[in-house]
Symmetry: C2
Subunit: 240 residues, 2 copies
């Protein structure tokens, strides 16, 4: 019984130019881990139709679920919806259900639903809408691809809308041990531990902060008792 797999596609020149520091990847990674979905790969591509379409096709074929972030607003550089449609050969136009959501929203707020805003109702045929409780304009799910906004508050709200529709597996559990010794000091111990607990993932992450060097050892898996056993042995062998 293995967990479903997932990939993320972040769309946006602003990330690749270093203007914006992405936060959606970190957020999604944490949420998927809690939900028992294994995030296996992330790609960041620019606002380029071929790059987006190619990445969507590759990731959709390779993983159970794909989550995209960015490029579904009202401006000329918001091309994600059309690229997703193209990736699956689906037709796309302003759709009545999405238009009705926007009409109600803008009527409430007294703002004109102009041509640019109407672009946000362009939804591929066959897609399911993803609820956006923050700013109304919906995301959508087409095949196994969940298309969401890039603005962090909206992205996070859409993740909350879509995750309950996805069957998760066993949440990934982890324990960590902070060790103020060099990685090279503990590597042999970890090697042996990893060999004897091959059902667990054992990672070693060096740190250096305020002049203190060391490593955090993180043991991950879905069986809490096995993780306990590995951590107990590790602490014992290191005399901690």
């Amino acid at each position: 019984m293995t967990n479903p797999t997932a990939a993320m596609l972040v769309i946006g020149d602003e990330i690749l130019s270093g203007r914006t520091r992405d936060s959606n990847m970190y957020y999604l990674a944490g949420e998927l881990t809690k939900h028992g979905v294994d995030l296996r790969e992330v790609r960041v591509v620019s606002d380029d139709p071929d790059a987006i379409t190619g990445a969507v096709q590759a990731l959709s074929a390779a993983y159970d679920h794909v989550f995209t972030s960015g490029g579904i607003g009202p401006t000329h550089d918001d091309i994600t919806a059309d690229c997703i449609a193209a990736a699956f050969g689906a037709s796309i136009d302003v759709r009545d259900d999405a238009r009705a959501l926007l009409e109600a929203h803008y009527a409430r707020t007294g703002v004109e639903l102009n041509e640019a805003r109407l672009r946000m109702a362009r939804i591929p045929d066959g897609a399911t809408l993803i609820d956006n409780p923050v700013s109304t304009a919906p995301g959508f799910t087409l095949e196994n691809v969940n298309v969401m906004a890039g603005v962090p508050a909206v992205f996070e709200a859409m993740v909350a809308s879509v995750l309950p529709t996805i069957t998760g597996g066993a949440p990934l559990l982890s324990q960590s041990l902070r060790i103020e010794r060099g990685e090279g000091e503990i590597a042999a111990t970890l090697n042996a531990l990893a060999a004897d607990f091959s059902d667990l993932s054992i990672g070693c992450y060096p740190f250096q902060k305020n002049g203190v060097f060391g490593a955090s050892v993180v043991v991950r898996g879905s069986d809490g008792a096995r993780i306990d056993a590995a951590m107990t042995r590790l602490a014992g062998e290191l005399g901690l």
Copy 2:
């Protein structure tokens, strides 16, 4: 005269599990932009040999330069060097020049150069070493792939070592305008601007913070006078 292109490969389960928030992507993106190298794609993959090797081959073939982050320490989960060697069919073993660096470093600090630490001297045949002024263990460049550490302080020092060896292009210049109106309000103006300044990249990034909604318009290119002209027209048309 177009700028050289680049991709980044971040290697590490700790990013995909949401344990660690990556900072190397944001750092490298900014440095490459200043140096006139266009970062076109980033991938994050797990500590899995096939995933690493496949991504390196794909990115190396598609872009002028590749930069990797993570997986070159002394522990069992540090498999990047061997995967890079495999990706290019190069042999790999402890190399004398890298071993000499480590021997001198550990002799100075009175620490034993044990078998685990010696793993950090595993360098593919034909690779050039990348200087590590922080903690000595070197990175390396093989073909067009620059292999660097994941610890941010070390990664950043290695980027500083390797960037001067890469011929950059025109630095990407940008100007931005913060507009406290909805994206939908300014989209038509931006559409027309993007059409008339097709040599520039014009991005629109919505924000919502402390109850204030709006958008930042960012105009990017290598010709400062053209950027000035676009910004002047934009401000005029929006009455700013």
